[in-house]
């Protein structure tokens, strides 16, 4: 069981969190402008890297905040973050839709 550090609550067992998959997927501002292939790429395609990857978690059974961490998908090592990696500052998307 991983030990994940919630930027608000500190280190907690993995069971308190839900995984949100890869970070950095930005929902397009105006989806209607994408053709079918581009939209399908956004919906279905993932980088699925081996090694270090940025990924999203939510402290579902805690503060309910989303955040991002960097984890090695081979060793499960989680890299220490200098600052709390809140999702908004980490992968801020200034509005997919208005």
């Amino acid at each position: 069981m991983l030990l994940i550090t919630c930027p608000w609550c500190g280190p907690r067992d993995e069971i308190e969190f839900h995984s949100g998959g890869e970070a950095g997927r930005v929902r397009p501002h105006v989806p209607d402008e994408l053709d079918d292939t581009e939209w399908a790429n956004f919906l279905f395609m993932r980088r699925n890297e081996k090694g270090l990857r940025r990924e999203r978690w939510v402290h579902a059974l805690g503060c309910r905040r989303w955040f991002a961490i960097t984890r090695d998908t081979v060793t499960h090592d989680i890299l220490p973050d200098d600052a709390p990696s809140l999702i908004a500052s980490d992968m801020h998307v200034d509005g997919g839709a208005r």
């Binding site: 069981m1 079918d36 919906l43 200034d94 997919g96």
Partner: protein, 981 residues
């Protein structure tokens, strides 16, 4: 019965000779002492034969003195407390202990299964896979498998439920030290001296490990006494915790170690829990798990009386028990000489010491460059035949053989997560190959076998670990009074052993099996393991890996390192399910959620169904009523008079903020901008792939405030989904969410008399149709409780939901029900609710939907606001695959015969079934008996279903084919007149 123990020494050992304990083995009574293990007590009584082997039913005795024991597996206790496959070497003796041997029928001494041994040529490695292929149809499942399962295999699992209680604890520490032998004690003392929180774990009742059987002196104390002193000093540190009788059985990610503490296995009359599961998260881990002495390969090396040399030493020095009176020692290591000395001091005669090496450091060897060829004797050892490198052979009579084929570090915990091993050619064993963050292996488990190394390495590791986490110390190191060294065992005379030389005692794998695997091409280490089963089960490579891999390497002409090792997996030793479940049994398995009106439902005879963690009233049978009767009665009551339904489990999310409407516009497919305060609207929620995720009614309760309801099962998922969008996609939206599912009790009142019922009890609310129309909300009072009343319906009838604060839910429900008695109000459960909504063609998320169904497929086009710029799922609904005309669409089905109840999950095919395979056109999602139509109805997803109304399809399930007419999914009141009445 005599209390005489014929192989107990006159004095010595650490057992408490003043306490004599009675125990039974295979129904016979024996005596032992406090401090004995079952194994040492059996040996003391001269009991050699303790089990039969797995496959060949060969007689087996006690081989080891610890966790690696492959032979002496017994079933402990009886009935629900019976625990099969426990190692006699690890069972602490207690008064009244009862143990049975396993795998023998009718008795241990005369075992019919031993015929397998004669048939051995027919049950070689891989026999599972080839011998029984063929024969008549079904022969495997009906004949061979039951036979093999009876003849082979370990002890039977208990059939009764476990009456014991188990505990579970979480712990966090700075430094975790696993193993309290010389390395572990040195490490734990050093780590704790500066005030760090240290947990020291040891699997035995008395910490000390190999020190307890050692003749060395440390700080002028005999090793066992020094161990006691070190433990006392450790325990005196304020943050130190010692867990004895505790096995760390698995290491997992991020320094999580699972351990099981045997609290009362040695004291079964205690009222305390039997075992406790520890989940320990440590900043630093020091592994000091020691090493396992390895068997030698020679003929009949599994005969009772053949024992590991270190085990013989342990029984002599720790328990005051002789492995035999006339002992032959065969070794490739120096460590066996201390075993020989220990037995000689305890009174045994050492008949010979046969050293395979030329350069062993002791001059006590009677034969050098010599080895055992085979052991003589049937059920136990009567002598040995030795072979010298120059070809000389001779026989020596003896009643016990101590063997030492080298030592293999117990690298299990190192290897469980990410730890690799490499073959050390000098030591002749596998040692840890990589360093793991925060984890150090010291002493025997690192291949540093000498006592001096154990003490020194442990001290260094303990000091470093504590300093790492902020607790520097300056404790002086300890050392043995006489420094020792360790000689390798690699360059030894190893004659080719006869066929019946066992590499894996527990799984009955011989050198011949390894040879066969090699001849048949199973040379990869993982293939070798699976083909021969070597290293499987509780052995996990403890005694079998080194010999099996060395043998294979020899056959391939490579070094054992080139063959590699198999993967070590938790648990290190078996863990009972009771400990893993601990307190999470029965009602505590999962949290139970009950509504505020739960006790009322119980009192009115409700049968409950589990919906996630919720207990929901399913139906309320009256005396003599079957389920169908009750459900039909409840349905009729709602259609003809009035019913009440507990809707409290619906998910409820309070949505507030100036952008709340904009947010709803984005998460629902339909439009929300114009919803007036006090009005309700049905909403459909999709994921961005355009598939329906959830639905429900949302009510505008104020200028910037909405109450969203979700389906019962999806409440948490919807909450996560909305939070995700708000926090990560649209952080500019000023909206916040609060889960209020448990804050409101919801009483649905449905049926033509619903208004009459409310009129008699609700105060401060005008119920007239024109002032309180369908899909609106009013506030009022019921039984003195301020309530919200929503006019919404999931039955197609005139209906209201009365929401009261949870603490008043029961009171409001009862008041409503009492007020309804004059209208013959009927409580209805989830089953009737399902039937009523199906009659109206209303979907249930998870029943009509499965993540592949769009709102359009469900005929919910009217709930899609295409004019909106965006909503979650909008773009996908324009993808070609999602607008294709042959998508599965929601339809109704009625069987042609008007009688046959259809089946959920039944496949639908066209009505000409001439061609096979028959194409599947869809499936039934809901099927009920409808009281509205007085016949069976079903909802189904059917390819291009909306254009098939009036056609016939065949519903097929379990060999049945029922022709059905495709129709509209709305079976009742298609104009919706009743709902607006």
């Amino acid at each position: 019965m005599s209390t005489h123990q014929r192989l107990r020494t006159a004095s010595g050992g650490q057992v408490d000779r003043s306490q004599t304990l009675r125990f039974e083995f295979d129904g016979r009574g024996y005596h032992g002492h406090r401090g004995d293990t079952l194994a040492s007590a059996l040996l003391a009584n001269g009991v050699r034969l303790v089990g039969r082997s797995f496959k060949y039913h060969r007689p087996r005795g006690i081989l080891s003195a610890g966790a690696e024991e492959p032979n002496a597996l017994v079933t402990l206790g009886t009935g629900g407390r019976a625990e099969p496959n426990t190692r006699a070497t690890q069972i602490e003796l207690f008064d009244g202990l009862m143990a049975r041997s396993q795998n023998a029928w009718p008795s241990l001494g005369f075992d019919i299964g031993a015929i397998n041994s004669v048939l051995a040529p027919f049950v070689p490695a891989g026999f599972y896979y080839k011998t029984f292929i063929g024969g008549p149809k079904g022969a495997w499942t009906r004949l061979y498998e039951p036979l093999i399962r009876r003849m082979a295999g370990l002890g039977p699992a208990p059939t009764e439920s476990d009456p014991d209680t188990y505990d579970k604890r979480h712990a966090h520490c700075d430094v975790l030290v696993v193993g309290a032998g010389p390395a572990g004690l040195a490490a734990a003392r050093a780590a704790a001296a500066g005030g760090a929180r240290v947990i020291l774990i040891d699997e035995r009742a008395r910490p000390g490990g190999s020190l307890l059987a050692s003749s060395a002196f440390i700080e002028k104390m005999a090793a066992p006494a020094w161990a006691s002193t070190a433990v006392d000093l450790f325990c005196a540190e304020p943050e130190a915790r010692l867990l004895t009788r505790t096995t760390a059985f698995g290491r997992y990610d991020h320094n999580l170690v699972m351990a099981v503490e045997r609290l009362t296995d040695h004291d079964p009359d205690s009222a305390r829990p039997r075992q406790r599961l520890w989940q320990i998260r440590a900043k630093r881990i020091i592994l000091a798990t020691g090493a396992h002495e390895q068997p030698l390969l020679f003929g009949n090396n599994d005969r009772p009386g053949v024992m590991l040399a270190s085990a013989g030493q342990c029984y002599a020095r720790t328990y005051g028990v002789l492995a035999g009176r006339r002992v032959v020692v065969a070794t490739n290591t120096d460590s066996a000489y201390e075993a020989a000395r220990s037995l000689a001091e305890a009174g045994a005669e050492i008949a010979a010491i046969i050293d395979g090496r030329a350069d062993g450091s002791s001059d006590l060897a009677s034969h050098r460059r010599a080895a055992l060829h085979r052991v003589l004797g049937g059920k136990e050892v009567s002598g040995v035949e030795i072979v010298e490198e120059n070809g000389g052979k001779r026989r020596i009579s003896c009643d016990a053989v101590l063997m030492s084929g080298g030592w293999q570090p117990a690298v299990h915990l190192h290897s469980h997560v990410g730890g690799r091993t490499k073959y050390d050619a000098e030591l002749g064993c596998f040692v840890p190959a990589n360093t793991l963050a925060g984890i150090t292996s010291v002493g025997g488990c690192a291949g540093r076998f000498a006592l001096s190394n154990c003490l020194a390495d442990g001290h260094v590791a303990g000091t470093a670990a504590a300093a790492d986490v902020g607790y520097p110390t300056s404790l002086a190191p300890v050392s043995a009074d006489r420094p020792d060294t360790w000689h390798s065992s690699v360059d030894a005379f190893r004659p080719d052993p006869p066929a019946k030389s066992f590499v894996d005692f527990q799984n009955d794998v011989t050198t011949a099996d390894v040879d066969l695997a090699q001849r048949e091409g199973f040379v990869s280490v993982e293939h070798l393991k699976r083909y021969t089963t070597t290293g499987m089960a509780t052995d996990q490579g403890k005694l079998s890996n080194l010999n099996a891999l060395s043998r294979m390497a020899g056959l391939l002409g490579t070094a054992p390192g080139a063959v590699g090792t198999t993967t070590f997996r938790p648990p290190y030793t078996p863990v009972t399910f009771g400990a893993l479940a601990a307190l999470d049994r029965g009602d505590l398995t999962d949290p139970i959620r009950a509504t505020p009106m739960h006790e009322w439902h119980v009192g009115h005879g409700a049968v409950f169904e589990d919906v996630g963690q919720w207990k929901r009233a399913w139906f309320y049978p009256r005396p003599g009523e079957a389920m169908d009767d009750a459900v039909r009665r409840e349905c009729r009551a709602v259609r003809n008079a009035v019913g009440m339904f507990d809707a409290s489990t619906l998910g409820k999310i309070d949505i507030r903020g100036p952008d709340a409407a904009a947010f709803l516009n984005l998460v629902y497919t339909n439009a929300w901008s114009k919803l007036a305060i006090g009005r309700c609207r049905y909403g459909v929620m999709c994921t961005d792939d355009g598939m329906v995720m959830d639905d429900g009614v949302t009510i505008r309760t104020g200028p910037d405030r909405y109450l969203m309801t979700t389906t019962t099962g999806n409440a948490a998922r919807v909450m996560d989904h909305l939070e995700d969008l708000l926090q990560t996609e649209w952080p500019h939206l000023k909206v916040y969410l609060t889960s209020v599912t448990d804050h409101w009790a919801a009483c649905a009142v449905a049926g033509p008399r619903a208004r009459d019922l409310l009129a008699g009890i609700a105060e401060g609310v005008d119920l007239a149709n024109e002032s309180f129309p369908h899909l609106s909300m009013r506030k009022g009072q019921v039984a003195g409780v301020a309530v919200r009343i929503y006019r919404i319906s999931f039955s197609g009838e005139l209906a209201y939901e009365v929401h009261a604060p949870a603490q008043f839910g029961h009171r409001v429900w009862e008041a409503l029900f009492e007020a309804g008695r004059r209208y013959d109000v009927t409580a209805y459960g989830t089953e009737a609710m399902h039937v009523l909504r199906a009659e109206k063609g209303y979907i249930i998320i998870g029943q009509e939907t499965d993540g592949t169904v769009t709102p359009i497929d469900l005929g919910l086009d009217w709930a899609i606001a295409k004019s909106k710029d965006d909503f979650i799922g909008k773009r996908s609904l324009a993808r070609p695959a999602l607008v294709a005309s042959d998508r599965k669409q929601l339809v109704g089905l009625v069987p042609h015969d008007g009688k046959t109840l259809l089946e959920e999950g039944a496949q639908l095919t066209a009505d000409d079934n001439t061609q096979t395979p028959v194409p599947m056109l869809g499936h039934i999602t809901s099927a009920y008996w409808s009281t509205a139509t007085e016949g069976p109805i079903a909802l189904a997803l059917l390819n291009g279903g909306r254009d098939r109304h009036g056609q016939t399809v065949i519903a097929r399930w379990a060999g049945r084919s029922v022709p059905c007419r495709v129709c509209s999914p709305i079976f009742y009141d298609p104009q919706g007149e009743r709902i607006n009445a």
